[in-house]
């Protein structure tokens, strides 16, 4: 009896190991062009510099001087390495994880040697560290940095990130489904053609809503979905819903998390249009600004009957999905000015043919 349990435990262990290994294989090198990765590297490298300075300083009042002298080497070495590795990203991406690590280590060694040589030329014999010193320091720093990124990648990806993404998949409000069905039913007798079109829109909308939405989609696709959604709402709300599109300057091939915009529009209709008897205008403005895609959404704001909790949940959901896909480079801001509620999303422009 005991042995059987033991065997079962063994089997499970093996299974867990296998799945970990599988995950390990899909871990990729950190993206050094990413703002979040840069910030993290900067912090970590400076922390290492501080430890190094601590080890060298005999007294506490020497600490600052030691740190400065280490930083004058570390900072340029880090920034130069980042620039080189970011430029070399297309090449690095083709390598396997381990040869990628090797290339990174060699690059860092080369750059630190160059910087050491430049330092020697500038300072002459005043150079506080020898070349061996520098090599050890750079390799150590690179090692810690890469280990950190690997651990972080393991923690966030892929199984965990996927699970979180799945949990975060936008949920449509059930009342939208039933209201739409009710609207379609009301048109079947009087205007069967309109009912047909509405059912087609619904079918496509729900196909996306029920699909596995963990992969990025194009802005063009997301917008088509939004149009279908708004057509359904317009059928239901009639003249009360007015939609204004400013999307002629939109980069249609930009990649975005699916169902990013649709839940925002649903919010706009639910909180901005439905509570009023007069016409509510929803304005959608999408454009590219340098390397960023900016999405601005405006709808009327009704102070008296706003249910903030539901709204906040939707916003947090979208924020978290943006963070999982783009880290610190994407942001979502909301503001209410007078009688207008505005949501602004900023995210990096990543096009389909990357």
């Amino acid at each position: 009896m005991r042995r059987e349990i033991g065997d079962g435990e063994d089997e499970r262990q093996k299974f867990v190991m296998a799945s970990i290994n599988q995950n390990g294989a899909s871990i990729s090198l950190p993206n050094f062009c990413n703002l979040g990765a840069m910030l993290r590297s900067l912090l970590l490298v400076n922390a290492i510099g501080l430890v190094f300075a601590l080890a060298r300083a005999d007294q506490l009042n020497m600490l600052w001087r030691e740190f400065l002298s280490v930083a004058t080497f570390l900072e340029p070495a880090l920034l130069a390495s980042m620039v080189v590795l970011c430029t070399a990203r297309p090449f690095l991406k083709r390598l396997s994880y381990h040869s990628g690590l090797l290339v990174i280590a060699l690059t860092v060694l080369l750059i630190s040697t160059l910087i050491h040589k430049m330092g020697q030329r500038l300072l002459g014999d005043d150079m506080p560290y020898g070349l061996i010193h520098i090599w050890i320091l750079s390799l150590l720093t690179t090692g810690v940095l890469l280990t950190y990124f690997e651990l972080r990648a393991r923690a966030l990806s892929p199984a965990l990130t996927e699970a979180r993404l799945q949990a975060l998949q936008a949920r449509i409000r059930p009342h939208f489904l039933f209201n739409s069905l009710n609207t379609v039913l009301s048109f079947i007798r009087s205007e069967p053609k309109r009912a047909e079109l509405a059912l087609q829109d619904m079918a496509e909308l729900f196909r996306v809503l029920m699909a596995d939405n963990r992969q990025l989609t194009t802005l063009e696709n997301e917008l088509e979905l939004c149009r279908q959604y708004l057509r359904l709402e317009q059928l239901r709300l009639g003249e009360r819903l007015q939609v204004v599109w400013h999307t002629d300057k939109m980069p249609g091939n930009a990649l975005i998390p699916p169902l990013l915009l649709q839940p925002l529009l649903e919010n706009a209709v639910y909180h901005g249009v439905e509570p009023a008897t007069f016409t509510g205008e929803v304005v959608i403005n999408i454009y590219r600004h340098h390397d960023q895609v900016i999405i601005v959404l405006r709808n009327p704001y009704h102070r008296e009957n706003s249910h903030h909790t539901g709204n906040k949940m939707a916003m947090n959901n979208i924020r978290e999905r943006l963070a999982l896909h783009f880290d610190a480079e994407a942001s979502l801001k909301t503001q209410s000015l007078n009688d207008v509620y505005q949501v602004t999303i900023t995210m990096p422009y990543v096009s389909q043919e990357k």
């Binding site: 059930p174 039933f178 209201n179 009710n182 039913l185 007798r189 009639g238 439905e274 008897t277 008296e304």
Partner: protein, 250 residues
Amino acid sequence: MANLPPRILIVDDESPARNRLKDLLDDCRPDFPFELLGEASNGREAVGMINQVGADIVLLDIRMPIMDGLETARHLQKLQHPPAIVFTTALDSHALEAFELNAVDYLLKPVRLERLLTALKKAMSNRRLSPAALNIVASQVRSHLSVTERDRVTLVPVADICYMRAELKYVTLKTLQREYLLEESLVNLEKEFSASFLRIHRSCLVARKFVSGFEKIVDKGSDPHWVVLLKDLPEKLPVSRRQSHVVKEF
């Protein structure tokens, strides 16, 4: 009187939803003869129509602008012969548990013909909605207060009220145009509208947005005291000594 078919009013803010109910009602006609009074697109319109022509059954949507269905039902209970109410909603949430528990009838949209027919028949046999049950399901802050005048429900938008003053059995509601007498307790009104009204006296609540300032009155023979100055009204409302802290807090 007994032979007249029941008169039905449809209340929903979405015209397709109203059309759908009309279609279904037409399908009910062979089993359930009725007279369709008309349609209203929000609670305030509905109360206005019922005041004019009365109604026996109201099919009442819950989520509507201006005044929602639950609040509308509460105001309608003040009529001497309130209509039977059947709520309609697309929402299938925990709120509906309260409906079940309190035997308040409702239909889920999209509505089925059989369910509608059952609800209509039930409404005719058991017309009175218990006010207690209604108060449980409709417990949110009201957008209107209502007073009954000659068996008509007059709605007073809370946003129009400058102040409420307790007088003997009644509470006087003062708007820029006129005064209304309400049969409710000021204590309960204070609890419900604490976000928009300020208690300045044991017997007086003033709407925050109508307060233009405070003035200190120094009279001979009495202690100095504060009064509230109102926007667009010449009256000055005394602030009691016990409530004088509101002058600082406002």
